[in-house]
């Protein structure tokens, strides 16, 4: 079905996107109470096996799969099967949702009130809703929203209720459960809870996967989960997890379902509720534990203006067509289907590829507001810009972004300066504007005296908050920007040299950005195509030449990624200079942070983003992957062993001191 046209890098401009409807408009006109109590008759799956939530539990516990694992666990541990069964039943109690329409109605009422206060509008593509309506009837549906805020899943259920679609059951992290009352409320609105890590726990995995599969097979309700696993604190999409994706695809692989429809949903916010919270978290200012009282305190957020919110339901992606020619389903023929089977190597590859593609669809359909462009420019100009020049550059950037296929929501018939000043007003808490000069800065400076360290952190909060907006558009510029950087550091115009550099950067940054493994040639071609179309480059048979007018675009593009480059270099430098032989994994982030802080205080580093724990974590993951660092288990501690030669040469290449060459790559 839709997946055949999953992604076409060739014609970003031709991409047709649906129009939006504001659902709050209706809510502002009619009674919320009547809305909450209205007759709800959702479209149903045609193969639905009617079943109550309570029956679900016994189906799961009786299932051949779970019974098999219970016997297996019991014979391995020596515990009685009754004991293990009891344990399974408890796990299920802890996990299971108990979706109730009354709770949904309660939420429908309260959320209507809340949304109207928080948002100017909540925009939904109704064509997407219609497609979903169709998809829901045909095959079991899995909803895959992006995850930027706690709001996401409340909003999803709210919307599905609004449009008379079946309410989803949602895989939620266990941390919500600890919130008294709220956890139970969420449970009653369809959330089921899974532990964050249960690596080796066979029984837990069996209960969990059977629970999800049973709901899917019976068409009980659409399953909703977040491919990214958790909220992205940076607003960049996170590297997708494949565990749950495998669970929802397996019934198709094993022939239990004819097909499963995956529906990527992109939820974007003009202003994110958790904005500064995230920035603080990234800087190591600890996150308040989810608690009910915390939530109540968060009521303050209700008084602020968060602009608009956009929900875009993508085209349903059929697992069947996605898997065609990639998965040989007969690999499941020789084992009874209730016996759990680890996914084979090619299944793994398929899952990861599919997950990446789905996240890319999410990215594609994220609505970008003008502020995203402004934030990008302000970050590149730490000393600020004049309003007029900001407006001018924003307009230039707007055209570039559109040419690269950005889904930009730019108000019609408004002067650019008008648009810019509106955006600045909404985000005034991150800015100082004086005498026509705009600059990122700390606005609510605390009255108490601050140490230099504190001042750096205050500024860093602003920068990281702002970066979270720039990050939203990174996926648009990513490939051309990698090419721009590769051209800068390559020592010739030869296509292979540039490609090598591109490929190197792609490898280094593949934990940072959504770059499908194995797509490097395709990405390179896409980047070339976009820049060529823009008149920045000429791509000849063996050479890539910058055109006369291309300089400013290339400079802009490479500085988009500059903070990341600098950040990774800081991590490299830290690893080289660190003398502690027994550096543990836990100590790594605080240590890099204080190292970066020192550099900033000493005036040797201007890049505040190097303080972000997300960047540091991604850099470490990349270095581990590139084998410049390896993990060694000592006792119950994991320590990091640094290959200083490798790290050094990485830093040199990143710094452009030595060009990328194959031998060096090979050594890495």
């Amino acid at each position: 079905m839709a997946s055949r046209a999953l992604y076409s890098p060739r014609h970003p401009m031709l991409k047709k996107r649906d129009d939006f409807e504001d659902i709050l408009e209706e809510r502002r006109r009619s009674s919320d109470l009547r809305y909450a109590l209205r007759c709800y008759t959702p479209t149903l799956y045609r193969g639905l096996v009617p079943c109550k939530a309570s029956m679900l539990k016994s189906i799961v516990l009786q299932s051949d799969h779970l019974q098999y694992v219970i016997k297996q666990v019991s014979s391995e541990s020596g515990e009685s099967t009754e004991g293990v069964s009891e344990e399974a039943s408890l796990i299920l109690d802890e996990m299971a949702h108990c979706l109730q329409l009354s709770t949904i109605r309660f939420f429908a009422f309260t959320l209507s009130k809340a949304f109207k206060r928080l948002f100017r509008s909540v925009c939904v593509n109704e064509e997407g809703i219609q497609r979903l309506q169709q998809a829901v009837q045909e095959h079991p549906v899995v909803l895959l929203p992006s995850h930027r805020s706690y709001m996401d899943f409340l909003m999803m259920s709210y919307l599905l209720y609004t449009y008379d679609l079946p309410l989803p059951v949602i895989a939620a992290g266990m941390d919500f459960m600890s919130m008294k009352f709220v956890g139970e409320m969420l449970r009653m609105s369809g959330a089921f809870f899974i532990r964050r890590s249960f690596g080796g726990d066979k029984l837990y995995w069996a209960v969990f996967s059977e629970y999800v599969k049973t709901m899917l097979r019976n068409g009980y309700a659409p399953i909703e989960f977040f491919l990214e696993g958790t909220r992205s604190r940076t607003c960049k999409s996170l590297t997708p997890k494949t565990g749950l994706l495998n669970i929802v695809m397996e019934p198709f692989f094993k022939g239990e379902l004819f097909d499963v429809n995956l529906v990527p949903v992109s939820i974007s916010y003009e202003r994110i509720l958790e904005e500064s919270l995230y920035a603080r978290e990234l800087l190591g200012i600890p996150k308040p534990k989810e608690s009910t009282s915390g939530l109540l305190k968060a009521r303050r957020v209700l008084s602020e203006d968060y602009g608009s919110m956009y929900v875009y339901f993508g085209h349903p992606v059929s697992v069947r067509s996605l898997a065609e020619g990639k998965i040989n389903r007969s690999q499941y023929n020789l084992l009874p289907r209730y016996i759990p089977q680890k996914p084979s190597a090619d299944t793994h590859e398929f899952l990861s590829d599919a997950a990446f593609r789905l996240v890319r669809i999410q990215e594609e359909n994220m609505v970008l507001k003008p502020w995203v462009l402004i934030a990008t420019l302000l970050l590149q100009n730490p000393d600020g810009l004049d309003l007029s020049s900001l407006a001018e550059q924003t307009d230039w950037l707007r055209h570039l972004a559109l040419a690269f296929g950005a889904f930009l929501d730019w108000p019609d018939h408004e002067a650019c300066s008008e648009v810019v000043s509106c955006s600045l007003a909404l985000h005034r808490h991150l800015l100082s504007v004086s005498a026509g000069h705009v600059q990122l800065s700390v606005t609510d400076v605390p009255q108490v005296e601050t140490t230099p360290e504190e001042a750096v952190f205050h500024q860093a909060v602003v920068v990281l908050s702002c970066a979270s907006y720039r990050n939203q558009i990174l996926h648009v510029f990513l490939r051309p920007a990698l090419l721009a950087m590769a051209m800068q550091s390559a020592n010739s115009n030869r296509k292979d040299d540039v490609y090598n550099g591109f490929n190197f950067l792609r490898k280094v940054f593949s934990n940072e950005f959504i770059l499908c493994p194995g797509d490097s040639v395709q990405d390179f071609e896409e980047a070339c195509y976009l820049l060529m179309k823009r008149g920045v480059l000429q791509v000849l048979e063996h050479e890539i030449v910058m055109s006369a007018s291309g300089h400013s675009t290339l400079a802009f593009l490479s500085s988009v990624l500059d903070p990341f480059l600098q950040g990774y270099q800081v991590v490299c430098r830290y690893l080289c200079e660190e003398t502690n032989e027994n550096l543990t994994e836990k100590e790594f982030i605080p240590a890099v942070r204080s190292f970066a802080l020192k550099l900033i205080l000493a005036g040797r580093l201007k890049c505040y983003e190097a303080l972000s724990s997300d960047l540091q974590k991604n850099a470490l993951a990349a270095f581990l992957r590139l084998k410049a660092v390896r993990k060694v288990k000592v006792g119950d501690q994991v320590t990091l062993k640094v290959n200083k030669v490798a790290v050094n040469s990485l830093e040199d290449i990143l710094g452009g001191k030595i060009p990328t060459q194959k031998p060096i790559l090979a050594r890495l």
């Binding site: 022939g255 007969s330 499941y332």
Partner: protein, 630 residues
Amino acid sequence: LPLSLSLSLSLSPSPSPSLSLSLSLSPSLSPSLSLSLSLSLSLSPPLSLSLSLFLSLSLQEIMKWNGWGYSDSRFLFNKKGQAEFTGKRYRLSGLILPSLKDWFEGTFGANLQHRSPATPSLNLSAVAPPHLNQPFVEDLKAAGLSVSHDPEDRVFRAHGHCLHEVFALREGRIGRVPDVVVWPSCHNDVEKIVELACKHNVCLIPYGGGTSVSSALECPREETRSIVSLDTSQMNRILWIDEKNLTAHVEAGIIGQDLERQLNERGYCTGHEPDSMEFSSLGGWVATRASGMKKNIYGNIEDLVVHIKMVTPRGVIEKSCLGPRMSTGPDIHHFILGSEGTLGVVTEVTLKIRPVPEYQKYGSVVFPNFQQGVACLREVARQRCAPASIRLMDNEQFQFGHALKPQVSSIFTSFLDGLKKFYITKFKGFDPHHLCVATLLFEGDRGKVLQHEKQVYDIAAKFGGLAAGEDNGQRGYMLTFVIAYLRDLGMDYYVIGESFETSVPWDRVLDLCRNVKERIVRECKERGVQFPPLSTCRVTQTYDAGACVYFYFAFNYRGLSDPVHIYEQVEHAAREEILANGGSLSHHHGVGKLRKEWMKASVSGVGLGMLKSVKEYVDPQNIFGNGNLL
């Protein structure tokens, strides 16, 4: 109206085989028939001869040249638009089927105004002249064998009954056909033919009943040698019956119904009843690993054979004794069973026989849905109490079967039918769009049958099944005998279709049925078929570890430029779906050339290599070059 004449005579030469002849002819055919009659008589050995359906060398006189079965038996819509079945051979013959038209038009979106008639007769000029290997033909003649290169004889033996084969014939398109037809009349004749074929390097394609549905009889396009169709129809005698051991030694060319009838006359049967038994031959069963409807009592062909004699280019292969089981390395019978004419010609087979059962009873059970029905069959298999035959039709097929109900003779019957329907749908609450029916056939001595029947109905009741009478059961079995005739009717009105089958473990039956049916519907839609297809299945055999599933697939091809190609693509996709859902490549139709591409995946590279090395040893010159299987 064609005049039908039926004639039967019976002689009893020594030792005892009877001669019976039953003919059905229309006046227009009689001259050529008498000719062929005299011809065959002159050819047949003087003693112990048995004439039957295949007494004639020119089968095309009583069989359709471009469709299924007897020329006199066909479905048609009469002037009033009512369906009827012509001829006198079947229970349905001469009857009006009042609901078939509505079912046909409703299911396919077909219209009786839109006809797609077949070319009325074979255009001889479309047949390429034979590429003869003169010395070979002369040697055959010198050996006293009957040989023909008459175009009709050759065309008749150039095809089986795959859709594309029949469709091409109806359009008058003739591809590569055998150059020569030769009729051996005994094992020694075959030895002679094979020897000469090796000597002159010609390609031999054994031909039995011609009911293949795997493109097995198609002449390979790449074959440059002269192709000789070796027609076994004259090797049709029962050579002996051993009542002490309950075995019969039979020539492999005998046709199923003749074998069964002749054994019946002696008080015996083989019990092997594939749906094609009216036309398929014993040798064909062996060569394709055939399965019979009553295998639950009698077993499939591999269980029935005690001894096989086959002529190969290397010589004759056979066992030295008639022991009922042997541990002498891999069973050489299993190289022969399913070899699909690639290794040699099966000439004589010793088969198990059984006394004719005292009592036979049909039955049927209605289930609220297919899932319940499958669960019941599974339970019956678990308890190993399957009747001679038990089949479960899905809802679409149940409705299909219903459309074949003949006009009811009395108001009382129709009242009774109405009452039954009311009871099942209203009182018992079965949804007429979900209910499905199992048909049953019990066999044995009367007391045991009745006891057995009760046992099965009791199991069925546990799964919500209601006994639905003998009549429904019998009609269900009739469907399988007339389905191929119905296909010809469909083809007169832009509807094409075919059946295919698989075997699958019990736990995957439901998923496989649902997915394959859905895949068919989807593929049709995607390929631009304008009308929803008929996509239906039944579980036709039960085993300890699984079941055999049979699919019917047909659609209205109006508006399509190349319907056969689309048909083939959909069937291909359906087979992929079967394999992906844990089904086998074939349960009993065989591989032929149609399903060859999946052989390696089905039996592994090593497995295929083993088969190939056998072929290489037995037939290094590829004399048996029909290109099947490997």
